[in-house]
Amino acid sequence: MPWTTEITHPFASALHVRRHRLHNGLGLVVLADAGAPIVSYQTWYAVGSRHESPGQTGMAHLFEHLMFGQTRTRPAGEFDRTIERTGGDSNAATWVDWTYYRDSVPARDLALVIALESDRMVNLALEPAVLEAEREVVANERMQRVDDEVEGFADEELSRLAYTIHPYGWPTIGWMEDIRSMGMADVQRFYETYYAPNNATLVVVGDVDEVRLLELVERHYGDIAPAELPAEKRVVEPAQESERRRRFAKPTPAPRLLRGYRAVDQAHADWPALSFVASLLSSGPSSRLHRRLVIEREISLGADCDVGPQRDPGLFRIATQLTREHQAEEAEAEIDAVLADLAERRVDDAELEKVRSVVETDYWGELEGVDGRAEALGHYQTTLGDFRKLFEVAERLSQVTAEDVQHAVRTYLIAERRCSILIDPEGDDGGGVRDDDPSDDGDDGHAAARDDQ
């Protein structure tokens, strides 16, 4: 079967990307690049924490761990040893909309990695002992990244506050009680449901011969039967009517502020303008928020903004860590003033041009190595259904106007769409959590219990 897509795009210069689909639904995106004798071989499954249910949160992530176990044809540990023997390495990541597995190997070992990945797509042998060990590992990972890390804790609480019914409200790593209680049958069902060729895309970037690659992929994956994928229940998060705030005390030397504004999905026409605003606010030392919070007022260590690149509407986040003698409210006032100015006054051409240059440099920086290129292609193919969106978004970012910026700020970065997490250093009165605003509609007791874990 011929390749179906060849990209020629101003933002894809020298990137010759092609796409193919096997009869069983397996997608294949290839970017041949002989710059180094290596290959990034990534398998993107269209399953993430959004596909979980309350009570089974963390399933997609726990499963990612289990995928490195034994299969019906290979004993435990062989997957890692085989990859490591080549000089390569492998890893995986789970997020709200996807799970992907990365194998970085010498180009000469392409056939080997195809055999390994096709094997675990269909032959994984789940064992209770392995599940128990990985359950402990994930519990440890959660403690490391959330329970003992203020930033991770704040991220988790922001999502919970912003989403009342949408799955984006629970953490990808899962709630601890769900991690502890997940059963073998649930795990097995998850594998059989979502790990199938028609729910996956292979993204291969590096020193590959496309003809040989396609022949190998057909040989190793061609006989794997597609699964009957469940119809996804579309959950629409209700509109937020007023600001939501939560305040926590943690054993940390300085306060933190994390804001999330209900924004749009990555396919939305306003997403590039919001991404542009994030760069305008916090990319580089002359960016507006960095300059205001860190240099002029000296109340923060830094400021970070981003807008979630997600299939359903994500959050526009503003995060800042205060210096120890200042309070989160001071940062809030400064951020509000900066946003008010952006809403009120048109950004001048010089600043627009500056942000365009920053965005262009960031774009090419993300595409520097084979792994970065594969990750970018895999994300867009899996989240938006078409890897070409990577280049379209880049082009649209380069075309953002002052009016687009003003529209994005006035529409989305407003109090009614805002959720705020405030973290204070723990004093002698202990820790805990409290609603910072009587209008808050969160579940106080639940949050306090979570904090104690």
Partner: protein, 426 residues
């Protein structure tokens, strides 16, 4: 002798990178003024070439570029990233940071305050906190025991007056290394290097002295860094490792790989895979000009920390006594030789690799020599090197945990801490 020059051409990207680096790092900070090299290098980035901080930041950002300072214990670098069409202006700005810094008093005082806040940030992150304390206590008196960021006391001693001369002495051309990568000809890259060199032409500086390494303290020491309400315990164990380069460092690379450098390594298999005690576990030898650390690490829960520590010590005893088995050795050799292309896959990586080896006084092609050096090793070579360097009885152990939870557990396990320090004491 002029500054050395390394170039790596790139295709398929409009990005360029260049670095100017010098062989003076934080290990050579004046005694009592730890953090001074980092401070003056960062201060130079906050105003140069007649532009104050705001103007310089704006000039760099307008190009979509970045100019960043990095301070290692052995070296200092200023690295720029930019689009090819902005290369000339970015070089001009970076050269001014090297040659013509303003070193303004207001920025000096603000940077000192920021550094204190960064100390808070380090203390907030348990892994960084463990690392900071491990450096402090592993080998007292060792030049690498000195902190690049500084301490509250040492930062207070840094005055503005001597900084201009100190900064000028850092960037003497005879000790500089310049690296350039990007979509350009070698002639254009040489022009970039020439402009950087010309900016500091005529300056002289003494060659950095050899680092004096004291004997490693005998015995096992457990230093508990007490931080409240921890669910986990960050653990670092280690002692001195050989100098990076041919010889014992290379001979120990298979051991480092098989014991704690891979997912299939002994530590990962025993601590994580078999018992689920920690999200990760591993070991690493630091690459430096003088003997640096061999470190093992893990992050078990408080409940499992004493058992995980005991198991790690037992595994380490066995490693020191017996080295690797033949299968482990072969897998490690295959991995190490096969992994080299990944470290030099992009132009930026190749430039950085050449520059780093130059700064460590190793041949530019040392990474290319590694496969042959590794292939010549035998499992007996590894065992003999292990006998010379692995010291299971002489270990520094740093644990970041809540003392009220951890001390009773360690005492029950027969390994009470030798010292307990507050997490914000350093």
């Amino acid at each position: 002798m002029s500054a050395r020059f390394h170039f790596a051409p790139a295709v398929g990207t409009p990005l360029c990178w260049f670095s100017a680096a010098t062989r003076v790092g934080a290990a050579l900070d004046p005694v009592g003024r730890e953090g001074m090299t980092r401070h003056v290098a960062e201060l130079a980035r906050r105003g140069a070439g007649g532009l104050d901080r705001a103007a310089l930041d704006s000039a760099i950002d307008c190009l979509g570029a970045s100019i960043e300072v990095e301070v290692d214990r052995d070296w200092l670098s200023v690295t720029a990233t930019c689009l090819e069409r902005h290369l000339d202006r970015t070089v001009e700005l970076a050269a001014s940071v090297l040659a013509d810094p303003l070193l303004e008093r207001g920025e000096h005082e603000m940077l000192l305050r920021e550094s204190l806040h960064e100390l808070d940030d380090v203390r907030d992150d348990d892994a960084s906190l463990a690392d900071r304390h491990f450096h402090r206590v592993c080998s007292p008196g060792h030049p690498y025991a000195r902190t690049a960021l500084g301490t509250q006391e040492s930062l207070a001693r840094i005055e503005l007056a001597p900084l201009a001369d100190y900064h000028a002495s850092l960037w003497a051309p005879e000790h500089m290394v310049v690296g350039v990568a990007g979509p350009m000809t070698v002639a254009r890259a040489e022009t970039v290097a020439d402009r950087v060199r010309a900016a500091v032409a005529g300056r002289t500086g003494a060659r950095p002295p050899a680092l004096d390494v004291p004997p490693f303290p005998p015995g096992r020491r457990i230093i508990l860094v007490d931080k409240p309400k921890r669910t986990q315990c960050q653990v670092l164990l280690g002692h001195l490792a050989p100098v990076y380069g041919p010889g014992d460092f290379v001979a120990l690379m298979p051991l480092e790989t098989a014991f704690g450098g891979l997912f299939s390594s002994r530590l990962m298999q025993e601590i994580r895979v078999a018992r689920g005690w920690s999200y990760g576990a591993g070991c690493r030898m630091s690459k430096a000009r003088a003997p640096h650390w061999f470190r093992m690490w893990m992050a078990p829960t408080a409940d499992h920390a004493a058992d995980a520590l005991a198991l790690t010590l037992s595994l380490y005893d066995k490693l020191a006594a017996g080295g690797l088995d033949a299968d482990e050795f072969q897998l490690a050799i295959h991995h190490l030789t096969g992994a080299l292309p990944f470290a030099s896959a992009t132009a930026r990586q190749r430039m950085r690799l050449a520059l780093r080896h130059d700064l460590l006084d190793l041949p530019e092609d040392f990474p290319a020599q590694l496969p042959a050096l590794l292939a010549a090793l035998t499992v007996d070579d590894v065992r003999e090197a292990a006998g010379r360097w692995l010291r299971p009885r002489d270990l520094c152990i740093v644990m970041v945990a809540s003392a009220d939870e951890m001390v009773p557990r360690l005492e029950r396990a027969g390994s009470p801490p030798s010292e307990i320090v507050a997490y914000d004491s350093y």
